[in-house]
Structures are given as C-alpha cells and as structure tokens.
Subunit: 295 residues, 5 copies
C-alpha cells in the first residue's frame, strides 16, 4: 500500500488492486489505446477482422472476456461504458499519434485529462474505473515534462484510491536501442521512482530475453512489471512467451492489444481467456492453448 494513498482511500485502493490482479498480484491488461497511438493501422487491413473496424469491438471483447482491465481513452469510456458497465477500466491519460517520427522530432505526449476528472466520471456514473495510465518517453528531449506529469498523476490517482500504470518507453535520438534489456531495466526503475504501481515495458530483444528481463523485474522492486504484447505473432508462441515472462522473468503480467482485438469477437474472447489463465491462474502454455481452442 503506497503511503501517498490517504487513509480514507486505502480500502478503495486495495479493492481496485485486488480486483485488477485477480487477488494474486497478476495483471492481464487489455490495452486499447491504439486508435490514437497507431491511428487506424491496427484496426483495418489484411489479417485484421472486419469487426475490429469500429471502437465498440474493443468494449465487446472487454465485456465478455476474462481480463484484469481494459485501458483506453476517456472519450471512448464516456461514449461506450453505459452499455458495458461491468468492464473494469483503466483510463489512459495521454496519447500521441505516430505521424511525427522520432527522426523528425523528439516524442512528446501530454496529459489529456486530469485524474480528478476521471474520478468525477467514475463517481457520477458508477463506473468500474480502477486506475489510470500514462506513457513516459524516457530519453526524449521533452522527458522532463512527461516525468513531471507522471509523478503528479501517480500521487493524484493514489489520493483517489486509483491504481497507476506507467508505460515506460525509451525513445528519441538519445536512445540507441529501445529493446536493450539493460535500458529496459533502467526504465522500470524510473517507473518505480515515480511511484507507479505497475510499469509496462517493451519485451527485450534476443534469444535469452526471458532471462534478461529479470534485471528489469528486480529494478522495478515493489512496482509490478508487465510487458507489452508487441508485434503480431502466432497464438502458441505468444502464450509460451507470456508464460516465460511470468515464470522465468518474474513479470506480474502483460498488456496485450493488437494480438487481441484484431481477431473476431469470439476468437478474441477465447484468446483473452487463455492469456488470463497463464497470467493469473498459472496455467501452462498448453493448457492455455486448449482454452483458446475450445473456449
């Protein structure tokens, strides 16, 4: 229990945390902020289900699948959550498009909404908003602005009993290799210094990635580390990698986006359930594959 959660909100925080993590400290995050981050690239095109073309696909998956939480922007929550009131939400507080490439200008993503506004939306509508998320581009020349916003919002969220997840991504001209395991460990440590409950980091490159991720898990300390799902890949490979993350690396979960929502609703739900089983229920990759196949 972080000490910046005030006494009156500690029960609320604990309930949110426990619900998010299946009572086991493990987080299966369905990441759905790509409509801004990747525009329509993840939602339309070859190999992507037609169903994925509209935003409600995300909410339908979140509604029917076993997940820890579904992370998306405030505006989408405001427009769809009345029909999906049981979904546990994480409101992603900043987002940027990928139109300005790193070669053109250093990345900057500013906070769209205040934590108090999220708390108000939650209270007025009785939504199951469990926490907030934010991306920090470490190594950007604008890093100082994002570090400050992140530090402030972690504290503010805690004052409302909300759980915090920081996307810690090294990016900018000063970053030689975004998937260097040692750099990822550094990013995880910064997330801990910012007081986040969870840090979401890139999965390292390389053969021994699962072993090398341990450095980051240790650096994060009491802050739980989860890995981004990364590029599209086959289900079996995905589930095996996830199992390794939890059982070899010591990660407490994962954040998966494209690998979920580019599937049809039915397949996406089965896939989520498989992912959840590995993440929270300690299922093996094989057991999870059965869930994926058989529902």
């Amino acid at each position: 229990m972080p000490l910046d959660v005030p006494p009156a909100e500690r029960r609320e925080f604990m309930d949110n945390y426990s619900s998010l993590t299946g009572g086991k400290g493990r987080l299966m995050l369905f990441a759905g902020d790509q409509k801004v981050e990747h525009l329509n690239d993840d939602f339309h095109g070859e190999g992507i289900s037609e169903e994925d073309g509209g935003p409600e696909h995300l909410f339908r998956i979140a509604d029917r699948a076993r997940i820890g939480a579904f992370a998306t922007q405030f505006g989408l929550v405001a427009r769809y959550a009345m029909d999906h009131p049981d979904v546990p939400y994480i409101v992603k507080l900043n987002s940027k498009t990928h139109l300005v490439r790193t070669e053109q200008a250093e990345p900057l993503s500013l906070q769209w909404m205040e934590v108090d506004q999220v708390a108000e939306l939650k209270a007025e509508n009785g939504l199951r908003i469990m926490g907030v998320g934010y991306t920090v581009y470490l190594g950007s020349e604008h890093e100082a602005v994002m570090l400050r916003e992140a530090a402030q919002l972690v504290r503010r969220a805690h004052r409302h009993g909300l759980v915090t997840i920081l996307w810690m991504y090294p990016r900018g001209k000063g970053v030689a290799d975004e998937k260097d395991p040692h750099l990822i460990a550094g990013a995880a440590g910064v997330g801990a210094a910012l007081g986040a409950d969870f840090v979401k980091v890139n999965y390292p490159r390389g053969e021994d990635a699962a072993e090398r991720l341990r450095e980051a898990v240790r650096a994060a300390g009491r802050t739980g580390l989860i890995c981004s799902g990364g590029e599209r890949m086959g289900v079996e490979a995905f589930l095996q990698r996830l199992h390794d993350q939890v059982h070899i690396s010591g990660a407490v979960g994962n954040a998966t986006g494209r690998n979920v929502h580019q599937k049809s609703l039915d397949e996406a739900v089965r896939f989520c359930n498989a992912v959840y089983a590995v993440t929270v229920d300690d299922a093996t990759a094989e057991e999870a594959m059965r869930i994926y196949r058989d529902g």
Copy 2:
C-alpha cells in the same frame, strides 16, 4: 448520451443534439470560420458575390436558410447575434491564419475562448448556442498541445450540455497525404477517442472516395462523421457528392462554407435548403436541385 454530460444537463444536451440534427442524427453545418482561416481570400475576388464582402452576409444566410447550425468565432457572434437571435450557433474555439505555410513551420492553433465563457455569453443573452468546435492538426509537432485542449474542451462542453465538433486535420511535415482515406479514418478515430460528438474530416481523394470514406465512418463509431465541403465546385456535383457521403459512406452530414457564402444571399439560402434536404430529409440529388433552382 456521453457519460461526461452530468445528469442535470442531459436534457439540455439532448435538446441541443436533436435540434442540431433535425431529430434524425444528421447535421448540416454552415461553416463560417474562414475570415481567420483564409483571411479575405474566400470573401472577395472573382466569382464571389459582392454581398460576401462583409461578415453580416454569413448571419443573414444563417437566419433565412434551413441549417443545423452556423459555426463561427465568438467575437462575431457577440457582435451580430442580437440581430439574428434565432440562428443556431456553434462557437468555433480556435482559429489560425494560413500565412505560415506548413513548409515554414508546423501548424498550431490555440483555443481563443473558454467553454465557460461561451456558456456565459449564451446565458446572459439567451442565444441559441448549441455547441462548440475546435480544430486539431494531427501530425503537427505541436499536436500534443491541441490534443490536450480538445480533450479538455469536449468534457467542459458536455458539462454545460453543449455538443462538440472536432475538425480533425492531419497536417505537418510528417503527413504525406492529407486526403489519404486510411489516414482520414485514423483522424476520425482520434476524434472518437477525444470524446467528440461529431468529427469533421477532409473528403478523401480518388475515384472511389465515397466507398473509401466508409473506413472512417466505422472508425468514428458513435461519433458522427461529417465531411468538409472542400473546394468550390458546381452545385449539381456538390449535391451528388453529398448524397453519396450520406448514403454510400454513412456520413451523418456535411460542413459547407465557401460553397454557401460566396453566393448571393438569395442563392445561398436556396443552396443551403437543398443541402439540408439531402442531409436531413433524405432527398435525392435531383430533388435537391429543384429546391436549389426553385427556392
């Protein structure tokens, strides 16, 4: 009904929305913010009616024609609306000139007026202000500033029961083709993530534009998509294209500026009525042409 509209303002929001869209969810927006965006280029010159030289021409059209709303800047509303109290207004909250070209510097358009100030103007004068508008230049190096302003103003407008329209325009060195249908779909999705009630996008280039716009309509989800009127063109072609937007693409309307106000008052009114008939009354292009010709 977006959930960030507080319960006490939901009736107000619904009335505004219904009035704007003729009770049918369709929006015919008379866009009149070009005195800043294009300086005097749209109001003076060959092929432009002499009547268009002064700002009141816009208000006279808005007063006499069938429109969903007339969008213009706060200052003009403050100076002309006493003589045109029945016009439904959208206050456009930011504007920039076209003097600084994209090749010179990345586009930035900051919010001129606060939503609360619009609400105050409305309340003190009993004006029919139905909502607010704002332009986001996605892909500009200043995108982060505009995304934040847009997210904030959507919420603030909703708290006053006002409807929101976002002009979502990709622009900047990082944007290869502003009229790429896939990019337009991305822009529409960002508008949805920002919580807008309507997004206004460029009409795509190309032969099969009406079909290709469908991707954007889907990406926008519950956020209504309307297309900008674009360059000057013949009335018949305009009305046919509009009909396609609604009936092939699934757009819920249009935003038309130059094609309206560069005409004389009488012709502009007939033209608006024709556009309204296509947009809201499901008239065919031919039926609309009759309205345009015969009044």
Copy 3:
C-alpha cells in the same frame, strides 16, 4: 453593443464609446506607445522637436488638443495621469522593441498588464480610461499566442465596459507584403472575428490606396477600421489622405503618433485639432489646414 458586455456595464460601455468617438462613431486616436515600439528613435533626432525628448510632452499634447483618446502604456499613465486627469486614455496592453528584426526571429509581443489591473487603476484614481489596445502580429509563427491573448482581453475589457482596439499587423517570414490591401482586409476581418470594437491597420501602398482600403472596411463589418498614421509626411498631404480614408474608404478614423508628437507642443496641438476636425467634424482638408495654421 457587443453581447459580451454584460447588462450592468452597457451604459458604461456606451458612454466610453460615445466619448471616444465624439458621439459620431469616429475615432481620432493619438498613439503614444512608441517609446517601446521604436525606443528613442521617434523622440530624438533631426527634425524632431526638442520638447519630444521627455514623456510628458505626450501628455501635454493629449491634455490640450482635441483627441478621441491617447493610447500609451500602463506605466506612463500611472506616473503622469495625476497631472493630466482629463485626458481620455487607452491603455496599450502589449509592446515590444524593434531590436529583434523580422529576419532574425518571428515577432512576439506579450500582454504586460491584465484588463482587471487597468480597471483597478481607473477605479482607484478616477481616471478617464476608456479602453484598451493590443497588437497582433498575424503571420508570425507565434500568432497563436497573440490571437488567444487578444480574444481573451476583448471579452475581459467588455466585461468592464471598456472599448477595445486591436492593432492588426501582418508580420513574419510568411508575410510577403505588409501593405497589400487584400492582406490588410484579411487582418481587418480577423480583428472582427476577435470581437474588437476597432481595428487599426496599415494604410495600403499604391496609387488607389483609398479605394482599395474599402475592401478592409467591408471585411471589418461592425468593427470600426482606423488607419495608422504611418511614416512622417507633410501636413497638407496627411490631412488630404485622412480625408480620403474617411470619405472614400469608409474608415472611421485614424491613429496618429509621430506626425503629432515630433512637433512642438503648440504645433502638435494645432495639428491634432486639424486631424480631429477632419475625422469627427467632416471638415475638408482645406478647412483643417486653416485650423492647423491659425490654431
């Protein structure tokens, strides 16, 4: 009466407006903000009266001559108005020096004082402050900042019953010709969209300037257009040009600085009286020349 003037201040606004414009809607503005804008260049040197070397020269002229108002910075008003309490003042809210040339960096002039602070100075001292002024450099890469400040201060001034004058000057690398009549018309239209009561623009270049200025007068609509006095010129030519501005172009007045204060007190007063006669009393240039010569 602009609608952003609240009901309780409408009488105050009307009195200020009427006093400023001689009850006829015509404004003779004595512009005295050059101590910042041009440093000491306008106040010392060949052809400039020795009396012009100190700031009080400006106040003495304003005190003795017929003028609509004297525009200068807050600090000078605070330091001299106790001895010149009958002068009608316009407080110029922003100013910059000309040391950074446009070729070096894009122009930016920020607001020095808040409108509320001006209102406080007025109320505490019973001064005749009738309004406020502000310069916008359209086409500067910093245009967005000045547009926002201008929009905000127009509203805020109106809430105090104060009249607003915007200096609308295209300037920056994106501006090919600051004296292009079509561009001046655009600038006038932006002033109208900002809600200003008066816009001050450059006088166009060229033979048929008086005719060509009409486009700007029309674009300004209900916002009164006044021209800057421009470079030093002979009195007779000045008065004739002014007459043309009013009677050919339709401008409602002028803003004159150097052509006034570089003269000795006595001559400056006679000159102002001549200018006032043309501007407000519909005097001919010849009648005004007699006033200038004979006092």
Copy 4:
C-alpha cells in the same frame, strides 16, 4: 507618487522612497547581485580583497557605510539580515549566470521570487526592505517574457508600497552596441513605460559620454536614471565620472558593485561614503576623495 500605489500604501511608499534617496531624490545603490551574475569572478582573484570571498563581506559593508540601499537576492537576505537588521535592502528578483554567452543563446533571466513573498519576508521579520529590482534584456528574443514579468512586478511592488528599480540592458544578437547612448536612451524610456521608479542603465561609451547620457535622462522622464558602476577603475576617475553623471547628465545616482566590494571592509566603507557624498550631498570629486582617504 505613481497612481498604481494604492491610497493605503502611499505613506509607506513615500517613506521608502525618501529613505532610499536621502530625502533628495538621489539614489546610491550598492549592487550586490554578482554572485549569480558573475559567479565567483568578482569575489576571488588578483586585486580583490581576501575579505570579499564570503557573502557576509557585502552585508558588513552595507551595515557600516552610507548607502541608499543594498541590492541582493532573497536567499542571501534571508540568511544574513538577522545580523544586519538596519541595512536598507532592495531584493533583486531575477538573476542569471554569464555561462551561456550571447553568441550561444539569447539571454533570459526569469523572476525567482514573487513580490508578495518579499513583502511577507519583510513583514514577518521587520526588515528594512525598501523595494525590488529586476533585469530586462531588451533585444533578446526572450524580451517579451521579461517585459511582462517586469510590468507585473512593478505594479505588484507598488501595491505593497515598495520602490522599483529596473536594470534595462540591451543584449542579444539584435543589439549591435550595448553602450550606444541612443540605445541606452531607448532602454531608459522602456523602463519609464514599464512604470519603474528607477532605471539602471549602462554608462555610454565615448568621450562626451556625460553629455550624451542626457538623452537617456530625458527619455526616462519622471523615472530616475542611475548608471551602473561598470568595470573596475581607479577611485579618483570613478568619483569624477559619478560627479559628471549627476551634474552634467542629470542622473539621480549610481549603482556600484565591484568597485565597492572588491576592497577591504574598511576601504569599501570609506569608498561608499565618498560615493554617497557625491551622489546625495552634492560633494565635489575632490571633497569625496578626502572622505575616501580620511574616512
């Protein structure tokens, strides 16, 4: 009495002003802000008294010598004034180091402390803080920021009855010659437009500097002009130049730093007394030399 001093503070302002200027409108300012402006360059090295190595040397001089006021940063006042409660202080509100040279980047010096915080320090500790100071780098590309801060702090200081001194220094790529007398006059005029009670300017270069400074004295008007002490020079030459500033140029005083504190305590006190005699008591340079020699 500036009109932005509210009635309730006019007595306080007058007392501060009178005390600062020896009841004669003349100001001998002991300038001690160089620990930031010049780092340790002015306090350690050849020809500098060993005593000057620590900050208390400045306070000891200020305590024992005849001065109008001692100008230094808030932090030093907070740490030494308990032992030097009789010193009249001016709190210098901004400072920068000289590490970033003008050729590298345009100068910017931001306000460290708010005027209200100075007033609080004064009230809580019964200190003799008479006013505040601030430097504006005219001609810097950041000039707009400093002009705004200066305008605001002058007004805020006046509302507390505090006297204001602006260091008006042209500096930046756009400034060809910082010691051009005509430019110095311009800077003095800007200080007047900002409402300062005193402006501190560079002493002009050249043979007839004392005569040429008159232009600046006139431009400053009711704002008193004082000259910076400038580079180290011999005592006799210094006192003669100072006499000329007052009696030929019409300056109301001087601001002297290095020429004071680089001397031993005893010599510095005698030197201050000599400077004070010329500045306030109309002593001749010869009379002042006797004071300097004999104590």
Copy 5:
C-alpha cells in the same frame, strides 16, 4: 536560522537541522537518486553487489547504517518507508535520465513534486522527512527555469520547517570544465544566493583539490558545502579524501551514493559508519578504516 522559516516552524527546522547534522552542523548524506539519474547503470554489472539490483537495498542500508539522511525520490519513499520508518529522508524533487547527452541538448530537470505534497506525505504517515533536494544545471540554456524552481522550493520548504539541499552542477555547451574549482565556487555562491541550507558540488579535479575547494566553501558562506562522492574508488582513498574535504577544505560533509550501495548490505553499512565517523565524529581516516573493517 533562515528568516524565511516562519516563527511557528523554527523549532521544527532546528530539530530537522540538528538531527541531519548530528548536532554538529556536519552532514553525511546517503544519495540514492541514481535510479533515474543513471538508470540501471549503477545497480547492475561488474563489481556491483547482486543485492543492489532492487530498490529495497537502498532502504535497508539507510535503515541500519549511521547516516544524516537518505535522499531519494518521492515515489520510492511512498512505497518503502512503511517498512523503514526510522530512516531520516530527504526527498529529491527533480531528476532526469542521462539518455540525452549534453552534446545533443542542453540539460533540463523539472520539479516532479511540490513541497506541500512532501509535507502532506510526511504528516499523514509520520515519516521522518527532514528536507528536500533539487538539482540546478547552471550554464544550461534552461538554467532560468531551474533557478526559479529552486528559489521557490527553498522558500516553500522553509515555510514547512524543512531543510534544503541544492545540487549545483554546471553543465551545458557553455561550460568548459565542470570540475574547475573556480567554477565550483561560483556554483556554491549561487546556491547561497538561492537560500539553500546546503549545496552539493562536484569535487574539483587536480592535485591540490582540497586546498582549491576552500574557495567554494568561502563562497557558500553560511550555506554548508558538501561534495558529491564521485566515481567509484577504493575505500581507503575515499575516506582520506573525505577527511581532507572536512579538515582542509572546510566542507561540512559529503553525499555518497555508488560507493555505498554497490556494496553488499553488510559492507555498505560498515562503509557508511566509517564515512559518518569521519564526517561527524572527526575520526581520522585510519580510525574510519577500522570501523569499515570491523563494523
């Protein structure tokens, strides 16, 4: 006692100060902000204890060793201090990564947390937070922003009775040699002008470093000067250098990070105790070596 500590907080300040400095004005600071400043470089790799891989190692050392205070970020305090309630903390208020090198862009480190938020964390949890720290990069083109933040936070901390420590580091293109003793003295003087209770500076380069550091100690005046521990070095050399700093240079202490936490818990505790003995108890280097060896 700095005068910006309000009377009601002077006892609190004095208790904090006395506790921090062992009642002798000497400060042994265990600096633990490197998880951001150096990412994971200081915590993982050759010659670094495995125990140093996780954040709690820092807290365990701080808990068991004799130290003046342990400086680290708010987020880590919030997450670990419940298990280490007896540790005296300094909350480091800003931090940046080293990813953007000085050659790429000028350094900027913004304040993450407000002093009031630190005071709240302390009060709500009964923590032993004694003060706050902040880094200023003098000579950076962003220096003005950090100087302002530092000046403000010193005052704000004092209003809560908290002690302040400023890391004063010259850095940027304008800085030729960060370890020039004369420049270090300048940095120390700026810290004094900012009102800091302690300044932490680089240890100068060169043979006669201990002597040359005296200039900085004098420049800091009543502000205590402490040296950063610098690069990894042998224990004996470290302790001797530390002894020289105190007894030759006149420094009041040291800030040591890597040289502490890269050791195993047991060795780190013995090392801290040795450092503390030299710093506070006037132990010789030899006596301290015995403590290091024997515990």
